[in-house]
Amino acid sequence: MNVKPDFSKNANAAQTAPAFLSVWDMHSYYGESYIVQGISFNVHEGEILALLGRNGAGKTSTLRSIARTGDPEVRHGEIWLDHQPLHKMTSYQAASCGLGLVPEDRRIIPGLTVEENLQLAQIAPPIGWSLDRLYDLFPRLGERRKQEGVTLSGGEQQMLAIARALARDIKVLLLDEPYEGLAPVIVDEIEKTLIHIKEQGMTTVIVEQNAVRALELADRAVILDTGGIVFDGTAAEVLENEELRAEYLAI
């Protein structure tokens, strides 16, 4: 598992299809707490990867490390996105390389209206979906466009967070528990959206407690436990493997 993937531009030596997003031996710390303890995985272009694990397993920390938020601090390891070394970048540089993170606590910006929250995503290039297209996808947001973002209901905030990511032209979408707090119908909606954008070539990493749903959607799955990878394989394998499911996912 811990084989350094090939990032070179002429991927002749590659055994499998070249990785689009590649994480290699990543170690991250919150201050002195050692959280992400050397994990490596690949995501291929156009693929949906489910990142699963218990509470506190380090899923959020992994996504935040990839997005270069600086907290946790990545002290060792490499991250490559489409031949670009993310590990040498700061968060805004990573974002302009095409990385989009939908954070778990949504992070709607206080003091800004719904529309301003979306506009904010379109200040720095590359720019993705137009506001109109986003409002088509989430009509509720359209209705609420002048309302301050943080006064939205929990679910509406989640929609806004996803819309905000799509408002940028991203190559990889990192979703941290996108279904949380959403009504089942909306979850269906979003799932459809994810399939839709996957069809258009988007690469996605999804972290979700609703493991079954995530696995049904995903092509592949990685399971984390206490900061390390305990499984890396296809989604179908997980669904079939009773033991694995019971031990790490309690399903």
Binding site: S33, N55, G56, E180, A183, P184, V185, D188, Q209
Partner: protein, 251 residues
Amino acid sequence: MGILEVKDVNKRFGGLQALGDVNLSIRENACHAIIGPNGAGKSTLLNCLVGKLIPDTGSVMFDGQSVLGRKPFEINQMGISRVFQTPEIFGDLTVMENMMIPIFAQRDGAFEMNAITSVLSQKDVIERAEQVLEDMNMSDKRHMHSAALSRGDKRRLEIGMCLSQNPRLLLLDEPTAGMARADTNNTIDLLKQIKEERDITIAIIEHDMHVVFSLADRITVLAQGTPLVEDDPQNIRGNPKVREAYLGESA
């Protein structure tokens, strides 16, 4: 006559009718679930119950007394505890301290000099706090700064904090959102157990139907600020209107 009686409550935000003529009665010792699409006004309703918002019209009676016009802390002292949709805990304090605060608060709610003069090492308080931590399965994290908890853990901590107060009415706003399946199941068991052992009434908002159907005795479906139906769980599951507006195909 229920322990909580909500009558004709209306709440507007600017042009938006967030709650329209809400009538709700919760029976003592029941577990009453409130479900409904995102933005239906569920959290707003809870906010009106705990004094965070004041309804424009209508009345809210708890155990025969009106809660309107009282400050949040007074309402809490009447026996209503609330868990928020996004965890509200004392981030600067350790888990153990977080647990002790509500216990002290209950005792010293009205300011007494005793709080200044006594020492922290009060056996009963500590024992009680540890007991609750045990219940919440969090004893091993007792010395952690609560800000450093993963989100699922924060949520469990908050539930524990509310339970430690032995409230008569426990309001839960999506308590298991973002919780791992295993912990969700634990929480369900815990709530069931508490309900059996204690004289407690629970009102719960949830989008996770597994949780709702395992716990609820009674369900109210809220849509666009007004109760759509109120019924027993089985009937709700079968109700086509609810299926369409809320549950979607996956129920």
